[in-house]
Symmetry: C2
Subunit: 398 residues, 2 copies
């Protein structure tokens, strides 16, 4: 009875993206079962194929973001290349690109053109600042957007040392929001038969996720500074030092606060008038932090974890990446998955974080070699002869 | 001709969520046009209604995350409350909850039960660690997940001071991925008529976005340390000091590097054998950083921005939140939007980062007061009389 297909099986995606935000979107669609055709320039393809780190000469960065896709080469500046892109668009459900706004129009391949070829096409564009507005044509990188979007100003502990997040969060958020937009547009198309354009900007996505920083500014008129590891309104809720590293402890109410003091061997601190209520603890946080750190330094993270978990005080270690990828929960959830690649060999990469009960998603296969699926796509999907393909290649069209 | 409805119009969502991850998911669905019914406990409702900061006594935190929703009170422990939830589920397309795994089962209202009431229901559960695995029943907060998921270990500049991101990124990622899963399940339902369960964990979502940190570990066997504001493989690509603050500069290739040196007034540095290639610059980064900072400190961020943008070297300011919310691009993209609330007055909040050409999303209205829509939902949608509603209220069922 139960159908175990993936949720997006049967859909065809043209992935014209490079580097990170766009490829992340195409990757999510592939993981959920769409046939994702990566359209790459014949001169080396996606820039990320040259990005460190490498394994047997293949970029692990590229392989992680492009798993489960097929690859064709296509020269979008060549008249025959433009013709072929339109033929592909005529057969596709979704197109994703992350060129600088205006590039696809210059190529004569923007949404207006392609939607006339295929009115059902959902065309998603991911860019740094969006298709509209005064900064639209500026080049953008994750760092620059984390700065402009305010995230650097609220990360870290010192306004004199603004800090970016350790992953390229602005890029990744744009990739995920693009997929969300594509799927909402897909529902609309399932009902009406009509496609549309979805425009997602890294800066917009970052602003949309600033969370209480915006609420705090809008109600107080004061720009929040870097928040460190503390919580703006719950205390104690922070990172502490242990005998062998660190431990995060989140004692979100007075009951948990009392239990925490008990476990740390300082029950009298819970009764200290400086620390009675959450408000007291916030006001006297520096004094309290010193008292708590003095205790937590006395045992290892694992010892504290065991003692605190026994009385259900929320806590956790600060894992380095080696610990993350071997964590029992991460492995039980299949969030680190080995993928066999014909050249690179086996590479472990993050799994799919959406668990569907009826249509489970999964990594469909390794990343493609550049142009690996020219035969399958140009021959199989578009019905070209080997002679035609050879000729197009000679002309520099593919 | 053009239909300007929102993409999810006509869908009914039951939002049983509290605090952040779940409410963020419900908010995205409401922005995209779904009718989102927030189901809250009669004793004060969503905990976040009590979270700082406040405006006229209303939580700005809550209002930002629950805009455009309707609110009913419902006691899920009361037999009549359980019956009503099933009646609501029979009429809903989507249910979102972020209880600790096992809670809905204890209430007799888990997916197995509700899918028998309504096989078309898409049931999304967001939790810290997911519905399965050894940590499934642990309490989780954003800080704890940022620690366990490795993000704290790669953010900042010093392994002795792990740092979390300044926004609750693990919560927010879970919210966005939950919506992505819901919409993929919706496509499947549009084709087959069958709903399903979508299980999303904050930890999984964080691992899925670690990006090249995982690739670097898997290829080298060495856990990457905190990355600061530097790029692991492109140089110079960093935050620099200016006369009045900071500037991000991303000179991603040799041409941009030469232009940067020209603008900074140190053309000889581009020819310095220590800094000729990207690899040279990475190897001699500390020396180079000092040279560049000595120059950038000489003028203001605005002056450098103008000079660098004139020669198309990617750069950007590090905005504090006051600058973000008044930035011309942010405003042009409607990413900070005033919303009028009957009690709080006008509150500005982040807009919708997905721009649809045919079915534009937008903030549907203010957040609801607790139980504001009891009449509309219990009376209108379920057809109860005023007498019935009064009785249910007296019994403590709603």
């Amino acid at each position: 009875m139960t159908e175990r297909k993936k949720p997006l099986e049967g859909l065809v995606v043209l992935d014209l993206t490079r580097v990170l935000a766009g490829p992340f979107a195409g990757m999510m669609l592939a993981d959920m079962g769409a046939r994702v055709i990566k359209v790459e320039n014949p001169q080396g393809g996606d820039d990320a194929r040259a990005y460190t780190p490498f394994q047997n000469g293949e970029s692990a960065y590229f392989m992680s973001l492009n798993r489960g896709k097929e690859s064709v080469t296509l020269n979008l500046k060549h008249p025959e290349g433009k013709r072929i892109l339109k033929e592909l668009a005529a057969r596709a459900d979704i197109l994703v690109e992350n060129y600088k706004p205006g590039t696809m129009k210059k190529l004569g391949l923007d949404y207006d053109v392609l939607s006339r070829v295929n009115p059902r096409l959902i065309y998603a564009a991911s860019s740094g600042f969006g298709q509209t507005g005064p900064y639209s044509d500026r080049p953008a990188y994750d760092l620059i957007v984390q700065g402009m979007g305010g995230l650097q100003s609220i990360t870290g502990t010192d306004p004199k040392h603004p800090l970016k997040v350790g992953s390229s969060m602005a890029d990744i958020l744009a990739g995920i929001f693009a997929v969300t937009g594509i799927l909402a547009a897909l529902h609309h198309r399932d009902l009406t038969g009509r496609g549309q354009m979805v425009d997602v900007a890294m800066l917009d996505c970052l602003v949309a996720t600033l969370e209480n920083a915006v609420a705090r500014y809008e109600t107080s008129g004061v720009a929040p500074g870097p928040i460190g590891n503390d919580h703006p309104s719950i205390c104690p809720f922070a990172t502490f030092e242990s005998a062998d590293g660190f431990i995060n402890i989140a004692a979100g109410n007075d009951v948990l606060w009392a239990r925490l003091c008990e476990v740390l061997g300082i029950p009298e601190t819970a009764a200290d008038p400086r620390f009675l209520t959450n408000r007291d603890r916030i006001e006297n946080w520096l004094a309290l932090k010193a008292i708590l750190n003095a205790q937590t330094q006395g045992k290892t993270t694992a010892q504290w974890m065991e003692a605190l978990m026994a009385v259900q005080v929320p806590c956790g270690p600060i894992n380095t990446i080696d610990k993350v990828v071997s964590d029992p929960q991460v492995l039980a959830r299949e969030m680190i998955v080995p993928v066999a690649h014909p050249v690179a060999g086996e590479l472990k990469m993050p799994g799919v974080p959406i668990k569907f009960s009826e249509t489970p998603a999964s990594i469909a296969g390794p990343a493609p070699l550049l142009g690996e699926h020219v035969g399958a796509i140009y021959g199989g999907l578009l019905g070209m002869s080997e002679e035609e393909i050879r000729k197009l290649r000679e002309e520099g069209a593919i």
